[in-house]
Symmetry: C2
Subunit: 353 residues, 2 copies
């Protein structure tokens, strides 16, 4: 059906080996022959098939990224960071997303297997057993923000605990003693760690602990909005609220303002992730900055090490540091606007041209 290397060889009156050499810029082929082959390639509109090539050289020159069903800017930032870094290493990226239960993730692992030279996995449902059952021992893997205990995998985790701890401590330093949290979704590792940081900060800061102050949320704007509405309905009145991510923080802000309550005078507010939008709401939202782009870049960097050094690669568990960004919503003065990573990366892109 499609034209193959054999057709080219026949048409150019050479062997397939010679055609292959031309394709791979081998210097073991004479100028005349090379021209002749290239003519045939053009004439037949020949396009090499990657499958055959990969099978033969046992490399795909691609890495895989397995993601849960996530939404918002985190997702695109992460993919961008991963893709850009992969391209830097002359690797291509294959993303497979929306895997939110064990079956789906197993299916994803099975399909990606053989198509990539290494794999970055971000999933709440991944574990030693699932990986070992579905992936060859020899495939380099980096786990991203996974719940991982043993040292058999290289792993990268955002220091969610530390970020939450420091942000809540910051609220306490403003004098708050009654601080609510709007929690993230059940079964989400990030959410759990942020909750843990919140609790520890309360304890260490001698602030009030009350399980009623722990409001339910699922990381969406709407859930943050609803959490606050429900809170008011129950006549709960914390002096500060820590939203486990910015989307919920923005939703919460909207609900507080609708109730005619001033932020930060009557209720202080803080979020997590530092998505671009939080600098543009009124008042600007204090948040915990996670450099998602860098996170993706770092994951690829580790993976490339693992692929290249194969046997002598040393697995690590890395905690990626975060940064508290105080803004108006917690009672701090408005800081100068931060330049986005995006802007920086765009500039880098432009330099490439």
């Amino acid at each position: 059906m499609n034209v193959t290397i054999k057709d080219v060889a026949r048409s150019a009156n050479v062997s397939v080996a010679t055609v292959s050499r031309v394709l791979n810029n081998s210097n073991l082929v004479s100028e005349d022959t090379k021209k002749q082959v290239q003519r045939a390639i053009r004439a037949l509109k020949y396009l090499p098939n990657n499958l055959g090539r990969s099978l033969s050289i046992k490399r795909t020159e691609a890495i895989g990224l397995i993601l849960p069903d996530l939404f918002g800017e985190f997702f695109s930032e992460l993919i961008r960071g991963v893709d850009q870094t992969a391209q830097l290493h002359k690797y291509h990226l294959l993303v497979s997303s929306s895997h939110d239960d064990r079956k789906e993730i197993e299916a994803a692992l099975q399909m990606i297997r053989g198509r990539v030279d290494g794999l970055i996995i971000m999933s709440a449902y991944i574990d030693f057993h699932t990986i070992n059952k579905n992936l060859p021992k020899s495939l380099p893997i980096v786990l991203l923000n996974c719940r991982v205990d043993d040292t058999s995998f290289d792993s990268l985790n955002i220091n969610n605990y530390d970020g939450a701890y420091r942000m809540v401590s910051h609220l306490i330093s403003h004098g708050h003693k009654k601080i609510s949290i709007i929690k993230g979704p059940k079964n989400n590792h990030d959410a759990e760690e942020r909750l843990r940081g919140y609790r520890q900060a309360l304890k260490d800061g001698n602030a009030e602990y009350d399980s009623k102050l722990e409001l339910l949320g699922d990381f969406s704007e709407a859930s943050g909005y609803d959490a606050v509405k429900t809170m008011f309905k129950k006549n709960l009145r914390p002096t500060a609220i820590f939203a486990a991510n910015d989307s919920m923080g923005v939703g919460a802000l909207s609900a507080i303002q609708e109730a005619g309550i001033d932020v930060p005078e009557e209720i202080a507010l803080a979020g997590f992730d530092d998505i671009p939008i939080v600098q543009f709401v009124k008042p600007s939202l204090s948040s915990v900055r996670v450099n998602i782009n860098n996170l993706g870049a770092l994951a690829v960097y580790r993976l490339m090490q693992a692929i290249l050094e194969k046997n002598k690669f040393i697995k690590q568990k890395i905690l990626v540091p975060v940064e508290v960004i105080p803004r108006e919503s917690c009672g701090c003065p408005k800081p100068t606007r931060i330049t986005f990573d995006r802007t920086i990366s765009n500039k880098l892109n432009q330099n490439k041209h």
Copy 2:
């Protein structure tokens, strides 16, 4: 190195054909033999290699999605829509992003070629020639939001022109005669179409046309903010501003409010895309709703048709309709909150379990 089908065959004392039959649930193999083979598979921890399989059956059971340099919520929504629909058809998705010039997109096409059974392409830089040079004639393709003139490709486009036209007409119906636009990035097809709609609406509505009212932007929050700051500095005072996307709309809102000017009383404001956040800013932002999730789903649907019906698939150019959502920022009363697609799709997901 890795264990192959041959190793399994040897270990189970059968031929590779029999092992293959077991793997593919052929009913041409006796129960006893099947058990024996399965035992060997488990014992050797055999994992079939997709490359070999795909090469042999000439199908990959995967589709590709080629994207420009992505940021913001648009892309996560799109990827989700595409992935979910692909999974529905038992297909897997390979995403390749960050292709913002001709060279990069050619590299992407070359790498993805052979690894997928069909391709969805979204790019400002794609054209007939690039596709024909880098992809086999036989590969089914759907173009998404590309600048496409001829009918040689199946294509899907958001009706940007119509959305902008109707939103600006809506502003005019509020009595505005002096309406600014914050434009999107150069060379962006969406941005161009939205600008075209803006201009035509001004003309048809007998509103003032002045090229000074066309402010520069690049779809980022910061650019919307800066556009308005610059506008004030130049003492330009339109009574309404149409931001070519919501991110810029939010940035613009922030700048207007910092100047102590009331929205919508003194300046009305509207955006485009209807990202979730716009319902939660004060005042809520009027916008043009694009059902991105559906857009992705529709693209996959068309592609699956093209893959399955191969020869008898009829190429179309489809314009995806959009919806004007008036909110407070243009002077309309605040509508009831819309349920997100996300929420709907999550519910669908839950039903799957």
